[in-house]
């Protein structure tokens, strides 16, 4: 990875950290520690690029850096010529459902599909065009006509046709290229729409693209495998699927049946990946420790998964076993936090020591200040302190000549709430609850409780 900090990376990093979210780019500039964990992910990526598959559960307490780690894996994967699909699980975007939530997750994954040149997502057309364009170029060099190229597409995609829905997939790719050749944008858009899982009825898909199937709740996983195979054919190293906020499945779904159905899907993925039934695809699921360990609602409640994901009993007293699919993110040590602040200061100064806004002493002071304000949570959840530190440096940057000590005295760090303490969603009422949430202010909304 390049160590040069680009200005767009600087802005993205600071903007995201200020908002308490993980930046999508430039994470390598602020990454601290997690050496073994990153090495494990790198090994996984290497295996995937060799045609294998992998699965990882990133488990950690709220705010310990799961999302950060997930994004870091995404960036590393992009560097290694992977295609990355990333999404957050929500009550209306799940691995298994019957009311369109599964398809919705697939659509989100495809919408966020990223390649190195399009790290922010929306790379599905790029992936298709890379494959089609290579084929087109190869055939035209041999003097093939438009029709011959079109005819060759399904032949070349024959390996995919052996998979579920592979035939329709090949037809849609062909339609995309046909649209390109005939300057018919509608066909190209329809093809991309179909591949993103945005068709809700078969009739509509048949009218637009002459295919008989669509991507629906039941075929989401099959299409992910299909997409992974296609991506490999297009010359990428593989497909990495990152799913964050997995705790929603365990603690926001009240319906046991719905929860178990999702766990079954996870089990299927785990089995496929560990048994080598799938190729060129990797999954990283991030969730809180309750998602994994809660014996009443978490994965531990599902016996088959509990045994597969059980930690190695020998990996105790500080030892790690990264061959297990579960990676537990340990809390950051004070030294790690110091380095993190140091890195953030570097980002502000664009790696120019002469432009440091505060001396090292200020970093230590800030650590002490956070420790006093946040107590033990300071180490467990660096999010709040990082947010505070970025705010602290922002003030100093915008007010040159200000004494940092004075600013530090005025800085307030607020502790954020654990989202999993929010009430669970009833399966049947999930849809209604979501729509209501957008219309009515919730009980926690400050405006609703505003008093003079």
């Amino acid at each position: 990875m390049s160590a040069v900090l680009k200005s767009r990376e600087r802005e993205a990093i600071l903007q995201s950290l200020r908002a308490g979210v993980v930046p999508r780019i430039g994470l390598e500039h602020i990454q601290v520690g997690r050496k073994e964990e990153v090495a494990a992910i790198l090994k996984d990526l290497e295996n995937i690029s060799q045609g294998s598959s992998s699965i990882r559960f990133i488990i950690g307490r709220f705010g310990t850096g799961k999302s950060f780690f997930l994004n870091l894996a995404r960036i590393v994967a992009l560097e290694k010529k992977f295609v990355v699909a990333q999404a957050d699980i929500t009550p209306d975007r799940r691995l298994h459902a019957t009311g369109g939530q599964g398809r919705s997750l697939y659509a989100e994954l495809m919408h966020n599909l990223a390649v190195r040149a399009k790290p922010e997502g929306g790379a599905l057309p790029s992936v298709i065009e890379k494959w089609v364009s290579d084929l087109d170029y190869e055939l035209r060099a041999k003097g093939a006509s438009d029709q011959e190229v079109l005819k060759t597409i399904p032949e070349k995609l024959k390996p995919l046709q052996e998979m579920v829905s592979g035939y329709d997939f090949a037809l849609v790719i062909r339609k995309y290229f046909e649209g390109y050749l005939s300057h018919n944008d509608a066909w190209m858009t329809s093809a991309v729409r179909w591949l993103r899982g945005e068709y809700t009825t078969k009739t509509e898909a048949r009218t637009d693209l002459a295919v008989r199937s669509i991507i629906d709740d039941l075929t989401v996983y099959e299409y992910l495998k299909l997409m992974a195979a296609f991506i490999r054919m297009a010359g990428y190293s593989g497909l990495l699927v990152n799913l964050d906020e997995m705790g929603v499945l365990s603690h926001r779904l009240n319906n046991t049946q719905a929860r178990n159905a999702n766990f079954e899907m996870i089990l299927r993925i785990v089995n496929d990946c560990l048994q080598g039934n799938v190729s060129g695809i990797g999954f990283i699921f991030a969730g809180t420790d309750a998602f994994l360990d809660d014996k009443r609602r978490g994965l531990a409640s599902y016996e088959a998964l509990a045994t597969r994901l059980a930690s190695n009993s020998f990996a105790a007293s500080g030892l790690k076993d990264l061959s297990n699919p579960v990676i537990r993110l340990a809390n950051l040590a004070p030294e790690d936090l110091f380095v993190l602040f140091h890195n953030i200061r570097n980002v502000f100064a664009m790696n120019d020591q002469a432009k440091y806004l505060v001396p090292d002493e200020a970093l230590k002071e800030f650590l002490n200040y956070c420790s006093k304000t946040l107590g033990a949570d300071f180490y467990r959840t660096p999010r709040d302190s990082v947010k505070g530190f970025v705010g602290f440096l922002s003030v100093l940057e915008q007010n040159p000549g200000t004494n940092w000590k004075a600013v530090l005295g005025q800085t307030k760090i607020e502790q954020s709430k654990d989202p999993e303490s929010e009430p669970a969603v009833n399966e049947q009422a999930a849809g209604a609850a979501i729509s209501q949430a957008t219309d009515q202010p919730s009980a926690n909304d400050e405006l609703a409780t505003f008093k003079l």
Binding site: K6, S52, A117, I128, S133, Y137, K156, P159
Partner: protein
């Protein structure tokens, strides 16, 4: 009595019938009462003066009493049944849904004896004649519960076609429908090998075998044979295969490892068992260890496969045959007949999980206990070499797996080239016949084919181009090697690409040829080139001169026989196509430091003097070499001076004839200036050649690698229009696919592009916009550290990057 659903149904049926009868009586009675009352009313109308009402009301009173009795009886009856309504159907229902039946006790009237019908007996049930049945039968409901028992009293229907799973999970002969019984008996009577719609029938039969072997402990031999047969025929069902294989393993362990002869072991474990689980593996290994027999390769494969240290890879399943073959080959080459097994200190306990629900009950009551056998798997360290072989196989077969994954067939050229060497030796190259024919038609008398690269390229379907790419060049050499020939020069060794009509030589090696890795070989080739350049300097290459150079090199360097033949072949090429002196010098200058040049020059003098003299043209050439390589000419003079013995010059002998006057004697014929060599000096120079060879070998190796990288970068695709090709050779575009050169040049012309313009630009250049965007941005990110094109409502060009590219 314990709970039995069937008994309960019977009771409920009776209760239900009683209620219906009472209801009918009650309705009849009401009708009767109605008629009597009507009659009484009619009578009172006809005789209004009658004063004895008792006569007309008597039937009504009687009716009321009967009604009360009936109601009381009914209520009592209902109380006895707990007040529930009986709704269960009287007749058992057979549907296609799987159902689970537990019956822990026999029916009340089950008294018939459970009888085993073994080998040599025959059962006749209706039209079905079953020979050697190996099953239980009973003449009525059996006193002992056994799912597989054929109750001869039960009705048998006609065979029917059914959906899979119609029998249910734990089928019982007594519980299946008459038609299903017909299916079962038909299958039994036709040898128990016909195709089954539902493997449940095989399971039903298997339950009997289980009981006989594990509970009665009889007829073991016949049962093992039968179970083995069933496993063979119905292994498509993983469930049946699993149960039957574990059954075999358990029974074998139970009867004792001594009691199984080798041939039976082979039949069961080598011929029938397709897959092994921990138990079957444990028993087979225990048997081998007990018999002190080596581990055969097929079991070594299974051990490695089941070892948790072995990687799970798509390679193993995608190209299973290749994988197994390679594994066996490696195992046999490492362990010969097989590794000797050792056993862990503690025995292994083998537990049996019966397939039959009847036996499950018996097991829970302690009828079937586990067996302890020597624990070979427990000493896992002895299997580490197997895991290593497993991993090696995965690594070596990954290229082939990738080709197959791309949709290539195993008998294509690409798939062949991806094979590991060990497997290549086992199969012929798909193009072998074509090559053989070509060699047959073009072989010269010394068994060498001298031909043009173009001819070889055609054999590999390489399209014509002025220079082949490095990949194509290497492919030619590899294919030649794969079909059993050696191509000289070998692009894999030299790192240089072939020109389209360059001369190459090909010959069939005496023994298995490898890619020459000896640095001395490379040096010899280069020295041969230099020597030939020197030898050709006088305008023609004399055969004698060439041979002397060759002999000199062969004597100086001890090469492999195939390498010697390679050098001979190269000599033939150079004889027909002498090397360009300028080219040789340029290469030397690029490879060697200034001080190393002097050593090389020293060596060249030795080469020139190899025929015992240095003639004028060679002298001229040596001087040229010294000048071109930047070595002081005086050093050449000093070497030559060291070589030279005292030169007396031409000797003129005059006759001592005294005559008048003196005749001028004719001048003796003078040879050209010849330097006679100092042998000692020559030997010392020749010793230096080893040093030169080492030096050249190292330098050539490094240069070859660099050249390979460079060429790989530049050979991604076919030619592009000439003006762009010009740019292609420049470094700033290196690494980018050539087809994007024109579009990149165009993009750099303006800083902002609308979406339409961008798409139009892509179309004009025959590429697709999103693909182009990705390709160019990935390249600039890799090469210049940032993206060139920024996407928004328009496409903006990053001027910092464009400036750097320009």
């Amino acid at each position: 009595m314990q709970y039995s659903p069937r008994n309960q149904v019977a009771i409920k049926e009776r209760a239900d019938h009683g209620g219906v009868i009472r209801l009918i009586i009650f309705v009849l009675f009401l009708l009767f009462c109605g008629i009597l009352t009507k009659a009484a009313q009619t009578e009172s109308i006809n005789h209004p003066t009658a004063s004895a009402p008792s006569k007309s009301s008597t039937p009504l009173i009687v009716g009321m009493i009967v009604l009360v009795v009936i109601v009381i009886t009914s209520v009592r009856g209902m109380k006895k049944r707990g007040g529930r309504q009986v709704t269960l159907p009287a007749k058992p229902q057979y549907d296609s849904r799987p159902k689970v039946t537990f019956q822990f006790s026999t029916p009340r009237n089950a008294t018939a004896r459970l009888e085993w019908k073994g080998a040599g007996t025959t059962i006749r049930i209706g039209k079905y004649v079953i020979t050697d049945p190996l099953t239980y039968v009973s003449d009525g409901a059996p006193a002992e519960n056994e799912a597989s028992c054929i109750n001869l009293k039960l009705p048998v229907g006609r065979p029917v076609l059914e959906s899979r799973g119609a029998l249910g999970y734990w089928p019982e002969y007594a519980g299946i429908s008459p038609d299903q019984r017909a299916n079962y008996l038909s299958w039994l009577s036709t040898g128990r090998k016909e195709q089954l719609d539902d493997v449940g029938y095989a399971f039903l039969y298997f339950y009997g075998l289980e009981r006989r072997a594990l509970v009665d402990n009889e007829d073991i031999e016949a049962i093992l044979t039968q179970a083995n047969r069933l496993m063979f025929y119905y292994s498509a069902s993983r469930s049946f295969f699993g149960y039957s294989s574990r059954f075999l393993a358990f029974v074998l362990a139970r009867i004792g490892l001594d009691n199984l002869p080798r041939e039976s072991f082979d039949i069961i474990f080598q011929q029938t068992l397709k897959e092994f689980d921990e138990e079957t593996l444990a028993v087979s290994l225990a048997w081998l260890q007990h018999a002190n027999a080596p581990l055969p390769s097929f079991l070594a494969y299974e051990v490695a496969k089941n070892d948790i240290r072995s990687s799970r890879s798509i390679v193993v399943t995608r190209i299973a045959d290749h994988f197994r073959f390679l594994f066996n080959k490696k195992y046999e080459s490492q362990f010969g007949v097989g590794m000797t097994l050792k056993v862990a200190a503690r025995d292994k306990l083998i537990e049996y999980k019966p397939a039959s629900s009847t036996l499950l009950t018996l097991k829970s009551r302690g009828f079937i206990n586990g067996i302890r056998i020597p624990n070979v798997l427990g000493l896992s360290s002895q299997f580490k070499p197997l895991v290593d072989i497993w991993e090696e196989c995965i690594e070596e077969l990954k290229p082939l797996s990738r080709e197959i994954g791309k949709g290539k067939d195993v008998d294509t050229r690409e798939a062949y080239q991806a094979l590991p060497e060990a497997l290549k030796a086992e199969v012929d190259h798909p193009d072998k016949d074509k090559w053989e024919q070509f060699v047959l038609q073009n072989t010269t008398e010394n068994n060498i084919v001298i031909t043009r690269t173009s001819e070889i390229a055609k054999l590999c379907d390489v399209a014509e181009r002025p220079k082949l790419t490095l990949k194509q060049s290497e492919e030619l050499a590899t294919t030649a090697h794969d079909v059993g020939f050696i191509l000289v020069p070998d692009a894999r060794t030299t790192g240089r690409v072939y020109k389209w009509d360059e001369l190459v030589a090909m010959f069939r090696p005496d023994e298995k040829a490898n890619i020459p890795t000896d640095k001395r070989y490379k040096a010899v080739l280069f020295m041969l080139e230099m020597g030939m350049a020197v030898a050709a300097a006088d305008g023609e290459i004399e055969r004698e001169e060439v041979d002397s150079i060759l002999d000199f090199l062969k004597n100086q360097f001890i090469l492999e026989p195939n390498d010697i033949r390679r050098v001979d072949a190269y000599k033939e090429i150079l004889s027909q196509q002498p090397p360009d002196l300028g080219g040789v010098v340029r290469r030397l200058k690029s490879l060697l430091a200034v001080d190393q040049m002097e050593t090389v020059c020293h060596f060249l003098v030795g080469v020139a003097a190899a025929n015992g003299r240095i003639d004028k043209s060679e002298m001229k050439l040596l001087k040229k070499f010294y000048t071109v390589l930047g070595v002081d000419l005086s050093k050449l003079d000093s070497i030559l001076a060291g070589f030279t013995t005292e030169v007396a010059g031409p000797v003129e002998i005059q006759k001592g004839v005294v005559t008048t006057g003196e005749r001028i004697p004719p001048q003796a014929t003078r040879e050209e200036a010849v330097i006679t060599l100092n042998e000692d000096m020559l030997r010392s120079i020749l010793k230096d050649t080893e040093e030169v060879a080492q030096m050249l070998g190292n330098a050539l190796e490094e240069a070859g690698d660099e050249e390979a990288v460079e060429l790989a970068d530049n050979t991604r695709n076919e030619p592009i229009p000439s003006d762009v090709n010009q740019i292609a050779s420049e470094t700033q575009f290196s690494g980018l696919d050539r087809r994007y050169y024109p579009v990149l040049i165009a993009l750099l012309q303006q800083n902002e592009w609308t979406k339409d313009q961008f798409q139009e630009l892509a179309r004009q250049n025959g590429v697709m916009p999103a693909g182009m965007f990705e390709e160019i941005n990935t390249w600039t990110d890799e090469t210049y550290g940032d993206f060139l094109i920024e996407e928004g409502t328009t496409y903006r060009i990053n001027t910092t990057i464009s400036g750097r590219i320009k």
